[in-house]
């Protein structure tokens, strides 16, 4: 007896439809396993459909065979797919709300001034400078005299100093670290001294009695002013980008000669002139110069053999430019709403 071809096709179709209905209701892995056995096991519903092949005419058999193979593959694929989705989502019963806030992990941060300090340190370490440290309470000798700033000299007026006694001061710059380093080591010296300094400045938008500096020193045979300009230029371009230009202007510091103030071309207007640079196109950064031979005298270096350069910079100044902070006092308030931004 041969069944009608259409009848068999419709039986297959219904089996397939019923399968997908069952599958759509499968909520757990167990449900899925049950369905798999029901349809794909050796005595399962799909397998038993294959017995229908014998009931059609020989000419139609390949057609039915192909259709059965398609259904079998569709069932297998659908089960596999569902299986995978269970692996991804776990239980699929309840509504899972992925938009609930995650469990809080406390986030720490580094202070913006220290981040700038770190960046500056990294740049100089990359150029072969060693970082040296020193005390914040210094002797008058190391803070002033050995830097060629004698006691009764007008150049002392350039910095307002906090005194602890006749002998001790709060260092007004990190330059005394350079003196200590030269006292302890022989050239070549290539160092920076980052650290905290103090000046008797009444706090306002641009002054703080505590501030941070990085000062650099290089002493060796044949070190020149051109080397100094090179190192400052390299630093400027690493910090603010390849387009930055550097300008040196003559100035005076007791411990350097020739002395210079150095400026960076304005990073906001690219030197065209804007509010920040007061239309000059330049941002004043800090001072630099060739180490005055008198300083070498204090540390027993022979000025006929060695020469050196020194430079400084204010971290607050750079941080204010970088983060566009317009009041230095904000750095020292430690307002969480400020700290969280860095």
């Amino acid at each position: 007896m041969t069944e009608n071809l259409e009848t068999i096709i419709s039986v297959i179709a219904e089996t397939e439809k019923a399968f997908f209905y069952r599958l759509s209701n499968a909520a757990t892995r167990d449900d899925l396993e049950e369905i798999r056995i029901e349809y794909l096991s050796r005595k399962g519903k799909v397998q038993s459909l294959f017995s229908l092949i014998g009931k059609v005419d020989g000419v139609d058999r390949p057609k039915i065979g192909a259709e059965l193979n398609r259904v079998k593959k569709a069932v297998q694929d659908a089960i596999d797919e569902k299986q995978k989705s269970f692996q991804r989502t776990g239980k699929a019963i309840e509504f899972f709300d992925p938009t609930l806030p995650g469990r809080t992990v406390s986030i720490g941060s580094l202070h913006p001034l220290m981040q700038v300090m770190d960046e500056v340190k990294q740049i100089f370490v990359g150029m072969g400078f060693r970082i040296e440290e020193g005390d914040e309470i210094e002797t008058d000798y190391h803070n002033f005299e050995a830097l060629n700033i004698p006691k009764h000299h007008p150049s002392r007026d350039m910095q307002d100093t906090f005194y602890l006694s006749d002998e001790y001061v709060l260092r007004t710059h990190t330059s005394p670290v350079q003196i200590h380093t030269m006292e302890d080591q022989k050239p070549p010296i290539r160092m920076i001294a980052p650290g905290r300094c103090f000046r008797k400045d009444t706090p306002d938008a641009t002054h703080s009695p505590t501030f941070h500096q990085v000062e650099g020193l290089c002493v060796d045979r044949g070190v020149s002013f051109a080397d100094l300009k090179g190192v400052v230029l390299a630093f400027a371009q690493k910090l603010f980008g390849k387009d930055v230009k550097v300008r040196f202007r003559p100035s005076f510091f007791p411990f350097t000669e020739p002395s210079a103030e150095y400026d960076f071309s304005c990073i906001f207007c690219k030197g065209q002139g804007c509010r920040v640079c007061k239309d000059t196109g330049w941002l004043e950064i800090s001072g630099a110069g060739m180490v005055d031979p008198a300083v070498f005298g204090f540390v027993d270096y022979d000025p006929d053999v060695y020469s050196g350069y020194a430079f400084g910079m204010g971290i607050e100044r750079i941080a204010m430019l970088k983060y566009q902070v317009n009041d230095i006092r904000i750095f020292y308030e430690n307002d969480l709403r400020f700290l969280k931004q860095f």
């Binding site: 609930l100 806030p101 809080t104 992990v105 406390s106 986030i107 720490g108 941060s109 202070h111 001034l113 220290m114 072969g128 400078f129 060693r130 970082i131 440290e133 005390d135 914040e136 309470i137 000299h153 007008p154 906090f162 005194y163 602890l164 006694s165 070549p188 290539r190 160092m191 103090f198 706090p203 009695p209 505590t210 290089c218 060796d220 020149s224 002013f225 051109a226 080397d227 300009k229 090179g230 230029l233 550097v246 300008r247 040196f248 202007r249 003559p250 005076f252 000669e257 020739p258 103030e261 060739m290 031979p293 750095f331 020292y332 308030e333 430690n334 307002d335 969480l336 709403r337 700290l339």
Partner: protein, 798 residues
């Protein structure tokens, strides 16, 4: 230092604009901080001529004037003493606006109509002189706008002169720089003094008793002086450079000081007794009143100018009240001297009396310039005060200062600068600033430095001049790396940054606090038997001492944020602290790291209720930080000080205390006005951590045989600490015990009163073999026996 464009142009010809001058000066090391046109505060003011002036019938001090303004004659009531007929003076017309928005209108003054106002220089904003009408020159065109009569307003340069350039505290000094930059030359007028022949000794002799501090004392005697206001042009220039006009004689001394840089002083000759000037050191305790009316108590450091009887001036700083020029002065003794710089500075500092004069002397004026300046002033006094110079100049010059000669190696100069200038170029540069240059053999130049440049004494000083005038811009940067100079990293710095990264990684925010604090916040934090490092000259008491502990800083930050409704925070900072050991002046400065936990570990959340920080949170941080730095074990000891007695602990590594942690006491919190007592902090001596930290990392083989866990719960007296239990377990656990982890701690109904249950998870592992059950059992028995012996511990659960 302020100079004006017109004043400079008297001494050097140049065609640069004001902005170009400013730029050029700045690039030559004379930083121009400001350039501005002199302000004129008036409108609708014309040249008027008083054609009639009579006294007001009822008011003596008022004049009723008729003022010609060219075709029109206006009635004006005027209160100035010099409203005499024939005077040409500025007249502000009805509707004009003067300085400070003063509006001039037609009005009745004491019964008479006044259709405007005759003006003083002050009312026009031209100088500070307000007592008299501004006197215009006879050739002033009546009716002309005053602005046109005055011509273009002058331009002022405010220059920041560095301490090494005393020569630039003068118009001539700056003109000399412009001459060097523009290639022109300085025009310094020759002075010819016509003196009435007489022997000066009849009038004055000078005796320098202290030649160490007074190198030179020059003087001139003038008579027939009439004191009156200085002419307008002089008052205007002094006003432009910030000096108040006093009278013709005093103004001349100031004017010449600004022009050539030599401070001068004019004495009223009548008030000098004994026809003598003596320069001597003050006696200790000697009192002297300067012309500002201040009395000073002096010591031997100060130098006095005296007459035959009494001191009359504080040398180089300020004249005396007892000898200053009076309205009726008719004879003047003019002083032009050179005083030793350090001494003047010391006196000015000590007396807190910094003057235009002391600023110049303390930086070093030209000792060979006293005569020129004095003659310039004398000739101006002759012109402006109708005086006559009598006899020769006095010039007492015991310490002759001669020009310095410096030999410079061209090669050395080029090495220092990184350039290759030729000998001739260098010679030309140095000549442009009036150094005489001799070309010596080969590589060497000899420069003879004029005495107005005391800053040039060594070859390097010349190199600076060469660089400055050659142009810093023209020196090419050398960016070639110097591998031979590379240095090793500094391990302490690396460790510091590692610690900062570690603590911020534990959720702490780094702060940056001022190092100076108010004493009251620090007392509790001073180590025993120490005192504060105090500032002698603090800005205020609030910033009076150096912080003795970093926790002070963190508490400051917590308080700041709590005042702004921020409650929960974790903060840390590394910084320096200091104190003084009792009875010793030597300070102790240390680097500390501190951290603080304030408020809640966790806010109210959907997954749990808010939880306050407690002692074990801060301890966890300490343990974590130490573990990260390679310090696996530390001892504890009660710490107290700023912490609660109970909830506190010292951290002892290798028998040495490294720091402490615990709960901040209420006393301390009250001090900082922090209202909740939920603050926990730690601090470490940074260098002790650094000493003890792991310096090198060497691989320790991971065990190849399986480890065996063993849980052990014991009953013990409540007052036996978990730490001591753990220590004893380690002691008795044998070589295969590799981990002890306390996982349960219970006091309450389930155990008998006075006891607690503590449960540990022990891990055993051997490098050589798999451990057998029997072996483990044996060790456990051993541990139990030991704990029982030590503490009477009983096994609760095995």
């Amino acid at each position: 230092m302020k100079v004006t464009l017109n004043w400079l142009k008297e001494f050097v010809d140049f065609s640069l604009s004001a902005t170009q001058v400013a730029d050029a000066l700045t690039m030559a090391g004379l930083e121009v901080e400001e350039v501005y046109t002199l302000e004129r505060n008036f409108s609708r003011v014309v040249v008027g001529k008083i054609v009639k002036s009579q006294k007001h019938p009822d008011a003596d001090h008022l004049s009723l004037c008729r003022v010609d303004i060219g075709g029109n004659i206006l009635p004006i009531v005027c209160g100035a003493p010099n409203a005499y007929e024939g005077l040409k003076a500025p007249l502000a017309l009805d509707g004009s606006v003067l300085l400070n928005d003063l509006k001039v209108e037609t009005q009745k003054i004491r019964g008479f109509e006044s259709q405007g106002m005759l003006c003083s220089e002050a009312e026009l904003g031209l100088s500070e002189r307000s007592e008299q009408l501004m006197e215009l020159t006879a050739d002033a065109e009546v009716g002309k706008e005053l602005g046109q009569y005055l011509g273009e307003p002058d331009i002022v340069f405010d220059i920041n002169v560095t301490p090494n350039r005393p020569d630039c505290l003068s118009v001539i000094g700056i003109a000399r720089e412009i001459a060097a930059m523009t290639g022109s030359s300085l025009k310094k007028p020759e002075l010819n003094i016509t003196a009435i022949p007489d022997a000066i000794e009849k009038y004055m002799t000078v005796d320098i008793k202290d030649e160490e501090r007074c190198f030179r004392y020059s003087g001139r005697y003038l008579r027939d002086i009439t004191i009156k206001p200085a002419p307008f042009w002089m008052a205007l220039r002094l006003h432009a450079v910030g000096i108040r006009s006093i009278n013709n004689v005093v103004d001349v001394t100031n004017y010449v000081m600004m022009e050539v840089g030599q401070p001068l002083h004019a004495f009223d000759y009548r008030l000098l007794e004994g026809k003598k000037v003596i320069v001597r050191a003050a006696e200790a305790g000697e009192r002297f009143t300067t012309l500002d009316g201040q009395e000073h108590e002096l010591d031997q450091d100060s130098l006095l100018i005296c007459d035959g009887v009494k001191p009359v001036a504080l040398a180089g700083v300020m004249g005396g009240l007892n000898s200053e020029v009076q309205p009726d002065t008719n004879t003047v003794f003019l002083e032009s001297a050179y005083f030793e710089p350090t001494n003047i500075r010391r006196t000015a500092k000590k007396l807190d009396l910094s003057t235009e004069s002391s600023r110049r002397f303390e930086r070093g004026i030209d000792p060979n310039g006293t005569i020129y300046a004095m003659n310039r002033a004398a000739s101006l006094m002759v012109d402006l005060a109708g005086g006559h110079v009598v006899g020769d100049a006095i010039d007492n010059y015991p310490q002759k200062v001669t020009p310095v000669e410096i030999d410079l190696s061209v090669h050395q100069s080029n090495v220092w600068l990184g350039v290759s200038l030729k000998k001739e170029q260098i010679a030309e540069i140095l000549s442009s600033i009036e150094l005489s240059v001799e070309q010596k053999n080969g590589d060497t130049l000899r420069a003879i430095v004029p005495t107005f440049r005391p800053d040039l004494t060594r070859p390097i000083d010349l190199v600076e001049e060469i660089a400055r005038l050659y142009g810093y811009d023209n020196i090419e940067p050398n960016v070639a790396p110097r591998i031979d100079q590379l240095q090793e990293a500094n391990p302490r710095v690396l460790f510091r940054d590692f610690v900062r990264q570690t603590v911020s990684g534990m959720g702490f925010r780094e702060t940056c606090n001022l190092s100076l604090i108010h004493k009251k916040f620090g007392h509790e934090f001073l180590p025993q038997k120490t005192g504060f490092v105090e500032l002698l000259n603090p800005l205020s008491e609030d910033l009076g001492v150096f912080r003795p502990n970093m926790i002070v800083s963190l508490l400051t930050s917590v308080a700041y944020n709590r005042n702004r409704q921020m409650h929960d925070m974790r903060l840390f900072e590394i910084g320096n602290v200091a104190w003084k050991e009792d009875g010793r002046s030597v300070k102790t400065e240390k680097t500390q790291i501190a951290g603080i936990l304030a408020g809640h570990r966790q806010e109210n959340a959907w997954y749990g209720k808010a939880k306050e920080f407690d002692f074990y949170d801060i301890k966890g941080v300490v343990e974590g930080l130490l573990a990260k730095t390679g310090i696996e074990k530390f001892e504890q000891e009660s710490a107290h000080d700023v912490f609660w007695d109970a909830e506190s602990s010292k951290v002892i590594v290798d028998g040495k205390s490294c720091g402490a942690f615990g709960k901040i006491t209420d006393d301390v919190l009250t001090l900082f006005k922090i209202k909740t007592n939920d603050l926990f902090a730690f601090y470490f001596d940074f260098d002790k951590l650094f000493e003890n930290c792991r310096k090198e990392k060497i691989y320790n083989p991971v065990p190849r045989f399986p480890s065996v866990p063993f849980d052990l719960a014991i009953l013990i007296d409540v007052n036996v600490s978990a730490g001591s239990l753990e220590k004893e377990i380690w002691k008795s656990g044998g070589e295969n015990l590799v981990d002890v982890h306390l996982f349960d701690y219970y006091k309450g109904e389930q155990v008998e009163a006075g006891k607690k249950s503590v449960a540990f998870s022990l891990t055993f592992s051997s490098k050589e073999r798999t451990l057998s059950d029997d072996e483990i059992e044996n060790v456990i028995d051993q541990i139990l026996a030991h704990l029982s012996g030590q503490f009477g511990a009983q096994l609760r659960d095995r």
